[in-house]
Symmetry: C2
Subunit: 194 residues, 2 copies
């Protein structure tokens, strides 16, 4: 049940047998049905989740239009840290795009993780650094890359999910209308055969 | 020499006598003259600094125009973490606006801090979380607040530096021309006397 999570953490820090026992106790298995929400705008994000199976999209509501700006899929952590860390209301929503399985940890249990796992703080510090850098790179891409570059980065970053989700979510992420996304894809295919 | 830094860290985690000795060894005292740079665009940010004395502004160069987007003053950490953490070239510059005194720690010495200070990792994790949340709030403010709100947030966030730096840097931070800043200030003063 916790195999992928333990493995994921072990790629960053070593874990003792006791650590593994505690991690299994702290992370709760939960299923989320397709189209249901992990987090809705206005709620406080109470958990960090590790995605075992499924895909989630992060979006904001801008004047009635949903703008997708990120995805989480297998073997990634998922949360809205901006809401989770200070425990304030979220401005974004996180929705399952497939029937999904996640392992969740609450705010107070994450504090236990930090306090009781030998290298828990080290893992947390490195994980949040990576999320921070990723966010900065995403933001830069959003303001400096053109549509084709954004689509190519989407493919590079999420190679596994392109075929599994509706194209209009990808178009929203790239920042174009769905028909423009088809044009970008055809252009890339045309160039890649030479 | 290291009094304010030790105090600042102790507000977050407890430190042993040995920790204090090590921190004094890891953080180097450096002076930076007014208008000199802590970091220039294109360089790799090699250090995190704690500001003992002085003010610094963070800016990017946008088509030849310098856009100021943040400040650091006394008792704050200063770095471009986007460049420092992965050790890649910086897109931003950090410049002293007064003759300044800082305590700097290198990338490898910060790793020593994390490994050898009892609660070093905990301090690092909490510090980076705070920086992360601050960045997200700054970004949101930039896209949702109007000029007056941004000016009021500047005053709330940096109450100590308003009188110490040229007004055109504040205008750049707020996102207006210097003459518009005067208008905003007059409006605020007019309202605050009632």
């Amino acid at each position: 049940m916790h195999f992928e999570l333990i493995n994921h953490i072990k790629q960053v820090v070593s874990l003792t047998g006791n650590d593994v026992v505690l991690i299994k106790r702290l992370f709760q298995f939960t299923e989320i049905k397709k189209n249901d929400y992990f987090l809705q705008e206005g709620q406080i994000c109470r958990q960090v989740a590790f995605v075992k199976k499924g895909i989630f999209r992060y979006f904001i509501n801008e004047d009635g239009e949903e703008k997708t700006f990120s995805f989480s899929s297998e073997n990634r952590f998922m949360s809205n840290y901006e809401s989770f860390i200070p425990q304030t209301a979220s401005f974004q929503s996180i929705q399952a795009l497939e029937n999904s399985e996640i392992l969740t940890i609450s705010h107070s249990d994450l504090e236990q993780f930090y306090l009781k796992i030998d290298k828990g703080e080290r893992f947390g510090r490195i994980a949040i650094e990576q999320i921070f850098i990723q966010l900065l790179q995403d933001l830069k891409s959003f303001y400096t890359d053109n549509e084709q570059q954004r689509y190519e980065k989407f493919i590079a970053k999420y190679p596994d999910i392109q075929q599994r989700i509706p194209q209009y979510h990808i178009a929203s992420y790239v920042g174009v209308k769905p028909q423009s996304l088809s044009r970008i894809r055809k252009r890339i295919i045309r160039y890649s055969i030479y």
